[in-house]
Symmetry: C2
Subunit: 339 residues, 2 copies
DNA sequence: CTGAAAGCGCTTACAG
DNA sequence: CTGAAAGCGCTTACAG
């Protein structure tokens, strides 16, 4: 037996299955992909052959021939952020049983990387795309149009009529926590954020609007840094804020990691929270409720975002229009003991 | 112009590039994949054509024709566990610049799921595989042998001569922390664990060996539950341990999430840590050092594991033998204030 | 250094 | 309900 090229361990192909089932290659193909269009007898023979030979379809061949795939590309900024992990887990829970596989790309909050991933994944002819946020260069936004794959955006909301999305208003969430703090009587409310991705900046804008509206906005009370968020950074930001603006009586941190760090530091400094200084976070990570004092924060529904976005994508991939193009899952201000 | 089948937006193919560059299809192919074998002039014309047309290679076609791909399959048990996130991030940091893309599969600590993912990913003809742990059914272990893709195992160590791996001895780590606790004078050291994956059980065995060796082993001091680890569960396990065995003076938790929960609960109960009860964890997550009291734990080098494993896989995918087949990155017992 | 041809493993109209 | 043929976009020996 002379094979011109050695296949890795003589892969079992659909034509082996067909031969073993005593039918044509394409009947075998049909028996697997459109079983309804085939006689019961044939279907059974093919299924047995598949089992007997241990046949596994070749995704690349299928994708090349059909210009479709069972791949869903998911692009997120970070895996270190529990928010995106929860979202991805939820996505997987709905996509996997439906027979899809995920390609997860992590952009590390870098726009160029986000766009590179988008292009690279599109080349794989994914059946669908799940991407984070709308901010993207015009060129990058134009790319998906050349492909037929449906796309649902996570985390943010859009007014454009041709967008599909599941998220919540980051700006409104920023407004809501700031207002709550002001209503509780805090006068000098600082805002501290790291990373500075679009959603962070939207929340910052919300903070600004609420402060302006209350006539209490002071630009110097905003502390923004491009560094990556971490517990340690939260502690550091608290130090800086306290040194520069001893008059502050509350800090709204852009996420719980930072707020946790600030809470730890406050404890080290013997600072009374919330007596001397109130501290609030964003996301409601598991540790938030366990801290002493328990952290006040904004609860985000990232599991729901992942689940609903994946379901919407599933509809689109099946050629159905979802009931809503953009779903607002909302958020919830959760005041505990720290503010 | 009659196209028999409508391609999605008339994809630009390599033959478009060849036509535009005024050369044959296969010279174009060579100019891209083996540029050294081609004249400078040709290479430049092809490169220009690629740029002008915005050509993007079709991964499925390439993979089908060459029976190779730029996909590396990574299978981990969980993304909620920061340990695996750190590992995956490190893997991505070395694989991405080398031109590979990752398919991440999450098994949720379910052996069937782990094996299903292994088979599914293998069908994609990945260039390489990175999997977690060795425990796998014989059938599943046999599968990769049919494929040529090299495979490196994460987290554990192996004695078998044909395994590639990067990890550390989970058993030794369990022994080390238990011994340290005993040396510090704790007499009734309990062990609490959730999830019960192979690595957890190896650590439990380490605990058992150390306790037996010290003549202090009591089976009832082991609290094992198949539930998923979480801060809340840690608090719960502490309650149960305290109720059933008031005599315990130390608890070694299988991971930091559980230990953190126990620390929070101890604070709520007004329990003196480590005076009345010592608490130790495993992994050294970022929050561990910030707790009050700071958590004693076992530091694991998961970033290093990911990095070295990816580098080893890179060598193997290039056909080179790595210097070592199994790398032991070790671990470090970090005693802080909680024990 | 360059090219014509075959082939990777599958699916898709089109006939029967 | 079933089959013969063409084609998806690329790479790989083999010639020249």
């Amino acid at each position: 037996m002379t094979t011109r090229r050695r296949r890795s361990a003589e892969r079992i192909t659909l034509s082996d299955v067909a031969r073993s089932a005593g039918c044509s290659l394409m009947s075998a193909s049909r028996a697997l992909s459109q079983p309804d269009l085939v006689s019961d007898a044939l279907r059974e023979r093919v299924e047995q052959a598949v089992k007997a030979l241990g046949y596994v379809p070749h995704p690349a061949a299928r994708s090349l021939a059909s210009s479709r795939s069972n791949l869903v590309a998911v692009i997120i900024p970070s895996l270190s952020n529990a928010v995106f992990v929860d979202t991805v887990e939820a996505i997987q829970r709905v996509l996997m049983p439906a027979g899809y596989e995920m390609m997860i790309g992590v952009s590390h909050y870098r726009p160029e990387e986000d766009e590179r991933l988008l292009r690279a994944y599109l080349a794989h002819q994914p059946a669908g795309l799940l991407i984070t946020g709308f901010e993207r260069s015009d060129a990058a936004r134009a790319v998906p149009a050349n492909y037929t794959a449906p796309m649902v955006t996570l985390m943010e909301l859009s007014e454009r009529p041709d967008d599909y999305c599941v998220g919540f208003s980051q700006l409104e969430a920023g407004v809501a926590m700031t207002r709550t703090l002001l209503e509780r009587g805090y006068r000098h409310v600082a805002f501290a954020a790291a990373q500075l991705d679009p959603r962070t900046l939207q929340r910052a804008e919300g903070y600004r609007q609420a402060m302006r509206q209350a006539g209490r906005y002071e630009p110097t009370l905003e502390l923004l840094t491009p560094q990556l968020s971490s517990i340690g950074l939260g502690a550091e930001l608290l130090d800086r804020l306290l040194a520069q603006h001893p008059q502050i009586d509350a800090v709204f941190f852009n996420n719980d990691d930072l707020a946790l760090g600030a809470l730890f530091r406050a404890h080290q400094l013997g600072l009374d929270v919330p007596g001397r200084l109130a501290i609030a976070g964003f996301n409601d990570l598991p540790a938030a409720a366990w801290m002493h004092p328990a952290l006040s924060t904004v609860r985000t529904r990232r599991g729901e975002i992942g689940e609903l976005a994946a379901q919407m994508l599933l509809s689109l991939m099946r050629g159905q229009q979802p009931a809503e193009r953009c779903i607002d899952v909302g958020f919830e201000v959760v005041m505990r003991d720290s503010a």
